[in-house]
Symmetry: C2
Subunit: 197 residues, 2 copies
DNA sequence: TATATCTTGTGAAATCATTCACAAGCATCC
DNA sequence: GGATGCTTGTGAATGATTTCACAAGATATA
């Protein structure tokens, strides 16, 4: 779904007003029937003979994904990855607002990232209660990740995106996803050795 | 597969010598039958009544994934994300060696990252021919990503991990994976709005 | 050695996902 | 306005994946 949204944005930039399931399929490397099935799950908003209205479909997908509202995000860990995330433009462009960055390292606390001052991690729980962020990004060493996940979950955060290279167990009621860059590389190496025979 | 490897590493740290398919399933949120099917695809290395030897299975999976050798990696784009990747410890730990970092920005070129000097992008093609890196990490703005993918593919790189938030089309013979952090967040928001009803 | 207890490996069954195929709708052109 | 050309939406068929279920191997116990 998110991918379709990317294709639609691309297409809009090119000035097209409508797009067919076949075009979307070509972009996504799948079949037109697949695309139509995916979209029809949420209702039917194409017109026969013409395709889908890029604007209308974009809007509908944004609604479905919950992107029509702003999301408040905090970042835990102001190391290399945390800092990169805090300054990543793609988030703001898509409605994700970073409202806080936390770290335990006294050397980092007080520094400013993109206009945001790095806070002491001990202030985090109170901030969560007050500012009610929707999502927490965990960018800390693997050993600390599970404890922080439990902690933000307890404090009321319902969505967590983990960047630590370790599998975590999500507490009840918390949606967790992980981005593991080394794991992605491993999948690549598997594909590479597999294709050599 | 890579995930199983993570679980096994965890398990090894806890001092366990064997692990059952049921345990692996619990960690991965799947079923024991699923785990056994996955593993049996590559042969049978469990012992009945006991489970799998953590050490032997780790080793076998590392073989399958091609992690028993070193992989040479270059990073293209020395912005926030590229710099974070260049200094990421998880790579070296898993046998991925960053042998080059490239950028077009004169302000960045010459700076040192983790002992590695940022090179002018114009030197890239010659370096690829000479050093034969296995994998390229693309960490440049979305607009520049496709052109760079084509360029490294032509120069002989066979695996690419893309961090630009745009869908790319992989040239023939090139394995491509993408890490799109905004997309991950969107999947999270979908899960969050979906679970509210 | 016999018995009880685990756990694997794997056909068969059931479930899930993809692809096919086509009627029906819309736009365009003569 | 009727014929033509596209393209959607969707049942039916096909294919893939997951789960079930159980024989057979391994260990432990007595």
């Amino acid at each position: 779904m998110s991918l379709y949204l990317r294709f639609l944005e691309d297409h809009r930039r090119r000035g097209k007003e409508t797009i067919s399931s076949g075009d979307l399929a070509a972009l996504g490397g799948t079949t037109s029937a697949q695309v139509r099935k995916d979209l029809s799950f949420f209702g039917s908003f194409g017109t026969r003979g013409l395709g889908y209205s890029v604007a209308a479909l974009s809007h509908r997908i944004r609604e479905i994904l919950g992107l029509e509202r702003e999301w408040r995000v905090i970042i835990i860990g102001a190391g290399k990855i945390g800092a990169a995330l805090a300054q990543y433009r793609g988030f703001a462009e898509r409605g994700f607002h970073v409202i806080g960055v936390y770290d335990v390292d006294r050397a980092q606390i007080g520094k400013s990232l993109n206009g945001l001052v790095i806070q002491d991690e001990s202030a985090m729980d109170a901030d969560i209660a007050r500012l009610k962020p929707d999502i927490a990004l965990i960018a800390v060493p693997a050993e600390a990740a599970q404890a922080l996940l439990d902690r933000v979950a307890k404090a009321g955060v319902r969505g967590v995106l983990n960047f630590a290279p370790t599998p975590l167990h999500a507490p009840e009621g918390v949606k967790l996803r992980s981005v593991d860059m080394a794991l992605e590389l491993e999948i690549l190496t598997y594909a590479l050795v597999g294709s050599q025979h």
